[in-house]
Point group: C2
């Protein structure tokens, strides 16, 4: 049942003369059913269809909340498939929940767009449905507005009380790990721009997968965690900043993709779009971590230090990398 979407003052759906569908029909067709199979499983009392949604959280849990905005030309491009744009917008928001060890429960979509193009909307809805199915989460509300294309996704998840993994728990001596490879999405973006598409890398940029598969491992072993969407060096520095510690990284241990140059590797350290997780583990938990890795791939790349320096060591020399990365 339509809801927050039914608000024409914030919608370009209603009363636009000449449209085949009115707002109610559009919502019914494109949004009200997204992930609706998972409403009751996730404790949603009331989804799309009223002034607001209602959620009945399970006892003994905290609710983890985040939101992320995606913009054309920054986070996605005009020539991408609309399904992929929708999927990616939700995935990058969910990645923040994955980094906290949370189980995802629901999402909301605020969509600002120039026109209510039925074809575009059907593709957008398809992308939303795909990620909703993948993580068993319902779309529970949102808002539609006429304006430049801006997609804001708000996500909610749960952890047992006190179990949220934050950036602030790293201690001197902790080992630093990163999941998967670092830089695949950067390669994918480059290949996408050059139209030289290598599926594996391009997929990493176009359809990043939030690493909820690491959840059990993180909850079991991690003292701190962050997703590396802003670049490994910068995001690990956020852990150091929040935990009031330093870090020493071994450049050779970083799991870069194969066949890239030294300069590319350096660049990748301060660029983003990888939705892998960097996490720290108390030294004594390492064997337990490895025992329960269950085929998941992660690399030990360094350790946390009492001294608040952030050093990436390459052949016994500190590597000079730029301090961060800006899309602008």
């Amino acid at each position: 049942m339509p809801l927050a979407f039914l608000k024409p003052i914030q919608s370009n759906f209603i009363l636009t003369k000449g449209d085949d569908l009115n707002e109610h029909q559009l919502i019914r067709e494109f949004f009200s059913d997204v992930g609706s199979n998972f409403l009751s499983e996730q404790g949603i009392v009331l989804g799309i269809g009223d002034d607001a949604a209602s959620y009945n959280p399970p006892d003994g849990h905290e609710i983890i909340l985040s939101c992320d905005t995606s913009i054309e030309g920054v986070h996605f491009f005009k020539d991408q498939l609309v399904e992929d744009i929708a999927y990616r917008s939700v995935a990058v928001a969910l990645s923040d929940l994955a980094a906290c060890g949370a189980k995802p429960c629901w999402f909301m979509v605020s969509l600002t767009m120039e026109n209510n193009d039925n074809y575009w909307l059907s593709k957008f809805s398809k992308g939303l449905q795909e990620i909703a199915n993948e993580f068993r989460i319902p779309l529970i509300g949102g808002d539609t507005t006429k304006g430049p294309l801006v997609i804001t996704i708000q996500v909610g998840g749960i952890v047992k009380k006190g179990e949220m993994i934050t950036r602030a728990g790293a201690r001197a001596g902790d080992l630093i790990f990163v999941s998967g490879t670092v830089g695949e999405a950067f390669l994918g973006l480059t290949q996408f721009k050059n139209k030289a598409l290598v599926k594996k890398s391009v997929d990493k940029f176009i359809r990043p997968v939030p690493r909820f598969d690491l959840r059990n491992i993180l909850l079991r072993s991690a003292s701190s965690a962050i997703d590396i969407s802003d670049g490994l060096a910068q995001d690990l520095q956020q852990i150091c900043f929040a935990s009031n510690v330093g870090a020493r990284i071994n450049f050779d241990k970083i799991p870069f993709p194969k066949n890239i140059t030294f300069e590319e590797k350096k660049h990748i350290l301060s660029t983003g779009d990888d939705y892998e997780i960097c996490f720290t583990v108390h030294e004594k938990s390492k064997s337990d971590l490895l025992k329960h890795s269950d085929g998941l791939i992660f690399s030990q790349i360094g350790y946390i230090t009492q001294e608040k320096d952030f050093i990436i060591e390459n052949k016994n020399q500190p590597l000079d990398i730029s301090e961060g990365y800006s899309h602008f």
Copy 2:
């Protein structure tokens, strides 16, 4: 402590050469403190400063969730005060919680903007702080992105389990009430555009106040409720649609502002921006409602019917009004 705001891939704050403040300093200065006095009172375990926020909801409650996007030229204008733009953006999102009988608990801000102008941000932050103080709610996270000015506010509140007031509870014979006056914001917008400012009306447009003061009355007496941000006629029809009933309204009983023409009254019925609440009450609850009104002003304007017609009666004739209103 900075958090979701610390994500430069979605921020125009970091590494913009020549700025006086870096992103961390900006967040600390403009966002991290907004409503922070209310964090523990509202059960926020972790606010701004990590990948996501964490909320510990009170036992026995449902969480009510909504979001609203505000766009320049549609929901606010360039020549408004920035504090007012910030205040209004949050107020209109909160209004959805008020219509559900919810107590507001927290909000998140997704801000897309062209430049990180410190003066603009300080004013924006001031407006956020004003509404945070008014309703004792902390800002718990959000996102900043470079792009056209778009403000999405996500809000969370609570009701005791099973007590959410929806659009779907109206029954034949229920009496229909509306709070305050209907059309003041329309007059305010007109006056604002004409620069003929009459403070009371203009304030209704510029700084609408979500009607949380009606909460006790709504929870005590209302069978259904909606805010009339899209126009009384259209929003009441949403109640009829969701409740599978009709309505008969007495035009003379609608609390229009004084000194407006018949044509203006007709227009107001299908225009929006009033953040008053339209609600229905079982006939037998009327005396209880009036007994507990405690100085709050609301008007009985009609009743719910079994027949699914929506009729506004003026001097025994059905009034012909347009079906709704579009800003486009």
